[in-house]
Amino acid sequence: MLNNNLIKKELPPAMIKLGWILLSVGFIFIIAGFATDYQRAIFNYLLVYIFILSIGIGALFLVAIEYVAGAEWSTPLRRIIEFYASLIPLLIILAIPLLFSLHDLFHWSHPEAVAGDEILKGKSPYLNSTFFIIRTAAILLIWTLFWFLIIRNSEKQDKTSDQKLTKKNITLSAVFIPVFAITVTITSIDWLMSLEPHWFSTIFGVYFFSGSVIGALAAITLGAVTLKEKGYLHPRITNDHYFSLGALLFAFINFWGYIAFSQYMLIWYADLPEENFWFLSRWQGGWEYISILLIVVHFVVPYSALLSQPSKMNPKRLKFISIWILIAHLFDLYWLILPNLYKNGFSISWIEFAFPIFAAGFIIVLFNYLAARKNLIPIGDPKLEKGLNFHL
């Protein structure tokens, strides 16, 4: 039987302290940011909101994929993934400042600008403030509903060890995945693509999806390695489990590169004025260096770092790479969001560095809170024993 102190535990005080420090410092920075440059601050707030959203929804997607695919290796790590998925209900609170600042974020939310613009007039049945708020609210509620049902079943199983709950979750996950595909596309179009309302790219939803799964996987890897280092995870969770996480990370880094390149190449080749200006605005006034840096930071470095088998097996290296990838994911969002505000030239200030501190603190505090109150391993899951026995 499982050792009792592996199931429920206060995390080390250093980790709890770190979370609160980051959260409070980040919060002060956010207040200071909003006081100094409101528009820049709200764009950065959108950035960290999307960052937290992508990790939460990516984690819930991975939970669902595990159930649907019947994966066993990830079962002992599932609670960690679920902790990250628990960011989803908090998104409702985090979205409120954004919904009050739609005029600062979105050009299309100004009726006088839409009136003089044929393209925006044509898009206005979709891109208008009322429908936008309805969509956002509906999507967040749908996600919260699925999060609530799936996590509730999973945690109930710890007490009852009822196999039917796994079946129920498989059905829920199978329903969730297509819902996820649609809602995540709508979210990416609403929050990111419509920052430049004249532009469109049909692959954009997939681009955002690949980035969010990368973010979630990196966060999961980081959490799992940290807990393992501190001795909070089951000793039978071995390098083979980390290898699988690393392999998934590697696959999605590839997938991101593939999608990002597909989007770029098709627009570059056709060179149509209604599409290419989005990339052109990221290729002038210093943004071109950011664009090239993104390829290096988000694809070349993680790809090379994860290519060999030992680097996926070694938890220390994996920890470094996952931190790197989380920063790369932030950088990707910076490249997506900020050029819409600074169209004429590259711009960076302390606000860009300060806001992610809040996001990191927010995630760590929530993680600590949940880890102290819930089982770190789904002890009632019928797949757990097989998952602990997992070997390559």
């Binding site: 770029y264 570059w268 070997h391």
Partner: protein, 386 residues
Amino acid sequence: MERIDKLYGIGTVFSSPDGIIKAAAEVSGKGYSEFDVNTPYPVHGMDNAMRMKPSKLGYITLIFGLSGAVFALLFMFWAMTRDYPMVIGGKPFFALPAFIPVTFEVTVLLATLSTVIGMIAFFFNFPSNSHPLHETEYMKKVSLDKFGIFIRSDDPQFNEDEIRTLYQNLGGEGIEKIYFPAKADIPLFDPKFITFLAVIAVTASAFTYIALNKLLYMPPYDFMVEQEKLIPQEKSDIFSDNIGMRTPVKGTVARGFVPYPYSGIPSPAEVLTNPLIPTKEILEIGGKRFNIYCSPCHGYYADGDSRLRGQFPNPPSLHSERGRDMADGMIYHIITNGQNIMPSYASQINRDERWAIVHYIRVLQRAKNATSADIEAIKKDTANAQ
């Protein structure tokens, strides 16, 4: 298979994957190195149990994959910028985004091919096509539903009695001693094998032939060949004369077509005058067209010195009195309609270019028959320009 009296090794089988994992861990733990495991499907955790080092095959894949990437990029760089530069879609000659898919494909191609060939060459004892375990009871069992382990006699610790006890303690089902076969390899030109190859070759070619030459012309696969459209010179039932290619309706012209109404007129020069002013640009266009379309027969200087080496009769020189006195409109008319053996150039050279050629011919004629006054005038011009 015929066997000789030389021991190859000793094997045993287990009926569960757990049994074989335990056995592999035990055998490798005892220090045996020359042993192998045969299972009907890949068993997870086997690498660890056998204490195997990671395969070196990955390095071959990496090296060839990288060479593929470099080769593809260098080749496209050379082909598209050095050997045969071509403007495609207004992109630069070295259009990196367009090269990336090809680079990726060549990388994957070389990486996979080198992996397979490297595996055969370095790990399969190429060109040996047989193995002493072939056609043994042991092999029959492990390719069905048993999990086998096998220690070879060239292992430094090899001792038959010890291995027997080890197998028995592990719970092995039956212990089998296997001897070397009399012949190491199966002959390559085995009649059975050759017949098999021949049957495959004949079947594949027959199928390809039937698919490409018969099936594609049979309904319902003929939808590409039989399309509901007219191809040139095809018969058509829509029109009463059954001719598919139509002439324009009387009294109409196609869009962009400029009719030439002077074909039957005996002296069109009287109504045709050159609309172009002989500027430098016009003369350059005329010269280019003349060199392309006229010079093969008339020669670069209109001397009538054909470059066609007697394939056509040479035309007369344009510097004759008749040629010099000919009106602009007449030269234009001849280019448009043709004369004697010369065909019409109306479809190759457009209206303005034909007039430009007329100007150019005038330049040639003037240059060929320059007077000393002309030369003085040129000298004066050059001096003024300086």
